[in-house]
Assembly symmetry: C2
Homo-oligomer: 286 residues x 2
C-alpha cells in the first residue's frame, strides 16, 4: 500500500521513540527531530510504502546517535517476558478443538501485544487474555487451512522480537504436520524487528533465513538477491505484522497476512477498524 499523509506525523513519532531508545542525550534527540523535520518534505508518498517512507528517518537516528541497535535491550526483555507465556500458549493450542486456528490466533495476539509500546509494567497474562477476547477477523481461516494442507514449504516472514515467541505454537504445529518452515528475519537490527539472534533466543528451532535487509517491513528492493529469488519461488507465505502488509500487499505473491490493524491508514486500506486482529489473504494469491 502507498504511504499516506498520516504517515508523516507518525514518522516524527517513530523518530522520537527510536531516538529516546538510542540515547538519553537530549541534544542528540533534538538533533534527530530537527533533521527528521527537514527530511519531511523529501518523502514522496506516491512512490513509497509506509516502511519505505521511514527508511531515511531510522538512518537519521543511527547517524545522529551513533547507535545501530537502539532496541537491543528492549528486544531481549520482550523475548524473556514472552517466553514466560509460552507454556500457556501451548496449553491453549493443545486444549483447542481447532489447534491450527488457535495457533493462528496466538501468532496474531503476538503482533497485537506490542511489548514495545508500553509505559508501565503490565500483567502480560492478563493482557494476553484481554486481547484474546477482542476483535478478530478470521473469516479467511478456512482458505488458509485448505491451502496450507497442500503445501510442503512455508516462508514465514517474522516481525518483532518477542512476537517471535508467539509465532512458535503455529510454526511448531506446522512442523509437526511435516511442513518445512523458513523463518525469515532481518539481516541487521531495525527498530525492534527480529534478527537471527533474536529468533534463536526466542527458541525458534525451524530453519532461520535472512531477508538480507536492515529496514522495516519486507521491502524487496532492500533484500538480498538470494532472498528475493526465494520469495519469488515461494508457494505459501505467512507475513506477520502491519509493516509486512504495508510493504507487500501490492506484490503478486501467495501471502496470508497476520497482523493487528494499528492505525487509520491501514484501517482505510483493509476496511477493518483500528484494533482488529486480521488474517487476510493477498488479493494475488493464486
Amino acid at each position: 500500500m502507498k504511504a499516506q499523509l498520516a504517515c508523516i506525523p507518525c514518522i516524527m513519532n517513530q523518530a522520537f521513540r527510536a531516538a529516546k531508545a538510542a540515547t538519553k542525550n537530549k541534544k542528540l534527540i533534538r538533533e534527530v527531530l530537527n533533521k527528521v523535520g527537514e527530511e519531511v518534505k523529501y518523502i514522496d508518498l506516491k512512490k513509497c510504502t509506509p516502511p519505505e517512507a521511514a527508511i531515511p528517518i531510522y538512518q537519521i537516528v543511527t547517524d545522529v546517535t551513533g547507535v545501530e541497535d537502539p532496541y537491543k535491550n528492549a528486544k531481549r526483555e520482550h523475548i524473556k517476558e514472552a517466553l514466560t507465556l509460552y507454556p500457556l500458549m501451548i496449553e491453549k493450542v493443545e486444549q483447542s478443538k481447532n489447534p491450527l486456528k488457535e495457533a493462528v490466533k496466538i501468532a496474531t495476539i503476538g503482533n497485537a501485544i506490542d511489548l514495545g509500546s508500553r509505559f508501565d509494567k503490565i500483567d502480560i497474562t492478563k493482557e494476553f487474555e484481554r486481547i484474546e477476547n477482542s476483535l478478530f477477523y478470521l473469516d479467511e481461516f478456512d482458505a488458509f487451512e485448505e491451502k496450507i494442507e497442500k503445501e510442503k514449504e512455508i516462508l514465514y516472514l517474522a516481525d518483532n522480537a518477542g512476537e517471535t515467541v508467539f509465532d512458535r505454537p503455529l510454526i511448531e504445529l506446522l512442523a509437526k504436520r511435516n511442513k518445512k518452515i523458513y523463518y525469515a528475519v532481518k539481516e541487521k537490527p531495525i527498530i525492534n524487528d527480529t534478527t537471527r539472534l533474536d529468533a534463536e533466543l526466542s527458541g525458534i528451532k525451524e530453519e532461520i533465513i535472512s531477508t538480507g535487509s536492515g529496514v522495516a517491513g519486507t521491502i524487496l528492493n532492500y533484500c538480498s538477491k538470494e532472498f528475493v529469488n526465494f520469495f519469488a519461488k515461494a508457494t505459501f507465505i505467512i507475513a506477520k505484522g502491519q509493516g509486512n502488509y504495508e510493504s507487500l500487499s501490492s506484490k503478486r505473491a501467495p501471502i496470508f497476512f497476520l497482523f493487528k490493524a494499528k492505525c487509520k491508514p491501514i484501517a482505510m486500506e483493509t476496511g477493518f477498524r483500528v484494533g482488529t486482529m486480521l488474517l487476510i489473504k493477498s488479493k494475488y494469491f493464486r
Copy 2:
C-alpha cells in the same frame, strides 16, 4: 511549564489534525506538514511553554489553507452535543451531598471528554459516566472551597467549546452563592478554544470577557493589556484545561487548575498519571 522534547512530535500531530480540519485538499495538508517540518528546528524549548511552541504551527495552518477557523463546525457540533447532557449535569449537582464538589468534578469531566478527538460517534452519556468513575485527584478541594468562600469575584479561564457547557453547573452555582464570575474567552478562534460566540451558544449567562488573545492556553504576552491588568488584580482564578496549566503554572497568580493530564510531559510535571483528572492549586497561591 517549559515545553519538552515530546512536544515536537505532538506539534506535528496537532498540525496534521488542524490541517485536516481546515481543508480536504491533500496538497495543502502536505504543504502544512512540510512547512511545520521545516519550522521544528526553530522551536526554542527552553524559552517557551508548550502552547507557545505551537503558535507558529497554527499560523502555518492558517497561512497555507487560508482558513482562520478550521474547527468552526466541529465546535458548534460539540456545543450542541454537550447541551444534551446539561440537564443530567444539573440533576447530579442537585442530588449531590456536596454540590460544589460535584460541579467541580463535572467541569473537569468536560475537559476530559474531549469531543474533538473522537473518530466514531459515541454515546456521550455513557462516556460521561465512564469518566465520572475514573481517576480524580481532588485532595485540594477543601482548600478550593475554603478560599472561594472568602472571594467575591472569580476569573474563570475557559478552555474548549463544548467543555463550556460542563463549566455551567460550577459557574451557575458560584453565581447563586453571590460570586461575580468573569468568564474569559479567546478574542479570535484558535483550535477548538472558546470564543465569545461559543460561550454564548453554550448558554453562559455570566459576564464574558476576552483575553484579547488568539493563541492556545493563556499566554499573557499575547493577551490584551486590559486583560493582563485584570488578570494581575484577580484574587481567585479558575483555569480550565491543560493548555492553561502549561502556560500559567509558573506565573505568580492565585490559580486553581482544573484539567485532565493528557500527555507524558504533563504527567511528569504534575506527578500524576496520564489520564488523571486534576484540581491543582498553583504553588504561588497566596
